[in-house]
Amino acid sequence: MTRVRVEGIVKRFGDTPAIEGVSLDVRPGELFTLVGPSGCGKTTLLRIIAGLLEQDAGSVLFNEDQMDDVPSYLRNIGVVFQNYAIFPHLTVGENIAYGLKARRVPPDRITTKVAEAARLVQLEGLLDRMPAQLSGGQQQRVVLARALVIEPRLLLMDEPLSNLDAKLRVQIRSLIRALQRTLQITTIYVTHDQEEALAISDTIAVMDRGRILQVGKPWELYLRPATRFVADFIGTMNVLHGKVEGPGRGFGALTVVTDFGERWQVRAAGSPGQPISLGIRPESLQLLPGTNAVEAWNSLKGTVTEVVYLGAVVRYQVKVSENLLVTAEIHNPDFSAICGVGDGLTLWFATARAIPMPGETGPA
């Protein structure tokens, strides 16, 4: 199993910087995901790791081996591209066998290995077809088999599911995850779909504009996003602003007065008078109908401006003050939890659910 280290990679295209000093440490056998908005440099970074693009500075290491001067075709990696990159002039079988032939594997071994790879990705019986006769999902599996059959030391996948419909996406996602676990191949997986990232990864790195913002387990990123950008990219986050009033009830708690005049207890550090920003996930908010329900700590009052009822969830946009809209998601809503547009309501949350958001000082 291969450990991949990326150290201080920089890449510019002419004057536009694409990667601005990225370092990563991918543990052997893990599925490591790069997420970020379109154009943030995910593909560029992946191509540098694959050796298809030369970096301007920094280096790539597989275990202890410096790879910078190793050309792509000697790195022994499997790459699955954003749009398949299937060889249209070769049959499915020839596509899968392509890398084995390059390695001069004897023909009878090739046949058995291709058959085995085809079985792994559930393509038995299609080996003689031409790619044009395959569905999108089948093509994707051919490319997967083609990358896996060479037993690469590293698997790189660039948005491998982006051309598939929602149902197939979930199916192939599980297939990829299962194969990766059984074969224990270190994998770097690129996506801009946060749900996909959460579902599939051991570790996630969030990228923006050529930099890594945060690296961590999926739940670490979700529960403790380091920045507003990460918080918004992985899920939705309500960000509210206030001032520290003084110590709160209990160890490590503060009393905070929000800009709209509520008094809250939160787990955070800070001295009196200091401005503070707090993030609250929509599903951390609980609902009490009416605005003059119980006088509780940690509550917000407002009027409903939008209701989306989805059965298992009802999502509200609540106007708390002139320039503050809050999103709340109530799971498994009962009749009592259904409000209409214009209704007043009270939202509250448990003390531990408000996350201090560093780097956010007051409303812009």
Binding site: R47, A50, G51, L52, E54, Q55, D56, A57, D68, D69, P71, S72, Y73, L74, R75, N76, I77, G78, V79, F81, Q82, N83, A85, I86, F87, P88, H89, Y98, G99, A102, R103, V143, R146, A147, I150, L156
Partner: protein
Amino acid sequence: MARKRRDFWWSVTLLAFLTVLAFLVYPLATVLVTSFTGEEKRFVLAENYSRFFSHRYYYSSVVNSLYLSALATLGALVVGTTLAFAVARYPLPGKTFLRTAANLALLSPPFIGAYSWVVLFGRMGLVNRALSTFGWSLPTIYGWRGILLVFVVQYFPFVFLLTSAALRSVDQSVEDAALSLGSPPRRTFRTAILPIIAPSLTAGALLTFMATMADFGTPMIIGEGLHTLPTLMYGEFINELGGNPAMASTLGSLLILVNTAALMAQRYYAFRKAYNVVCIQPLTVRRTPARRRLALTVFAYGVVCVALIPSTTILISSFMPTRGPVMYAGFSLQSYQTIFHVIPRAITNTFFLTALAVVLDVLLGVLVAYLLARRRSRAHALLDALIMLAYAIPGTVVGVGLIVVYNRPPIILTGTWIILLVSYFIRHLPYPVRSCTAMLQQIDIRVEEASVSLGVPPFRTFLKVTIPLMFPAILSGAALAWMTTIGELSSSILLYSGPWATMSVAIFTEVFSNHFGTASALASILIVAAFIPLFLTYRVLGERAALGM
């Protein structure tokens, strides 16, 4: 970090530059320099040019050339686009026939077209002799009318094919959107459809303009003393009283100037106006009143029949008994027997030289196309421009340039077949380069990267993945190069020597020595030989792919 190695592609770049410099840039530069050279190799600024512009004999050739090319371009545009619209948008019968016929009309070189009109309507022509039995006669075909007729008939199919291809790429939704936004049909055409097809229209116009400027054989055969730039240039260079290379070069420089200016203007325009359109549902056929439909049908079939007259005339007349320029009704293999006895070398020469030139064009063209499409750099952009230059420069100019450069030590090529090969090779290199570059731009580079990542080194990837995917473009580039090389006259007539006459040269000399039968027989062989590769490509690839459009 930058590892700029002197790899294989570096050598290809070097080789391509050396080739283009040696066989195109240096000869053309020599022509330009010679136009500024007076007696005893002095540098003179304007001696040749002022002589040129003060003698009516000389300057009338520029006027004639520009005038004829402009009219021919206009004529080809009008006929070609009208036909394209009629076929694309109106319910005409037999559209496949119309398209095929337009394609076939491209096959014969223009000077053979000119000759065929002489066979029909010339002084001793079939029609005139038939009419004279009734005491009637037609206005003369010789002179500028004949040239114009040949040019329009020869080049409207290019405009037709380019416009048809462009029209196929206009989505019906574009028209629907414009109409639904309240734009009347005429305005919709002008504001929504015309801009999308404009780059193709201008490409067709450019092609017609450059080709007619460069055409040497047509005015020679049907012009009867009407001089254009290429014919006068040839005359000045080959003059029996001792050639005048300085004046020939002056004429050549003017040709270079006019054609490169036209090329650059079109490129600049097309570059700024090129739109990427996604076409799912092409423009649909309109419902039409019966009268208009009839008029368009008559027009379309009339045009296409006229376009087919040259090849048909040639084929039929090659089987007629002849004496000198006079042909008689009947069937005879006399003309074919004569050529196989008297000039069989011309046929083998042509096939040998054309095949070799096309093979070399494809070999270098494929490699250069890869450089242009995949390793874009300043040097490669320059290479691209230089190769396009070969497309713009008339054969007469290339021929004169090659002779002037390669008839003195250290390298003497004049008098050998190599100089013909060089001219054919360099002049038709743009065809495979264009077709393969266009194809490569459509092949996803990630397919090649996938191969590299699977452990196949870049050059083997090029052989195993890129070449097979480029195959259709290679085939169509080769077929086009073959078609245009096999009938090449303008540089052959200057460069051939002794036993190395080609079929085009033989046809030309047979026409001038009034042996119309042998000329027709040779021309028939030429047309059929030009047709076969293109036909095979069609069969393999289908019409659209074969023309690289």
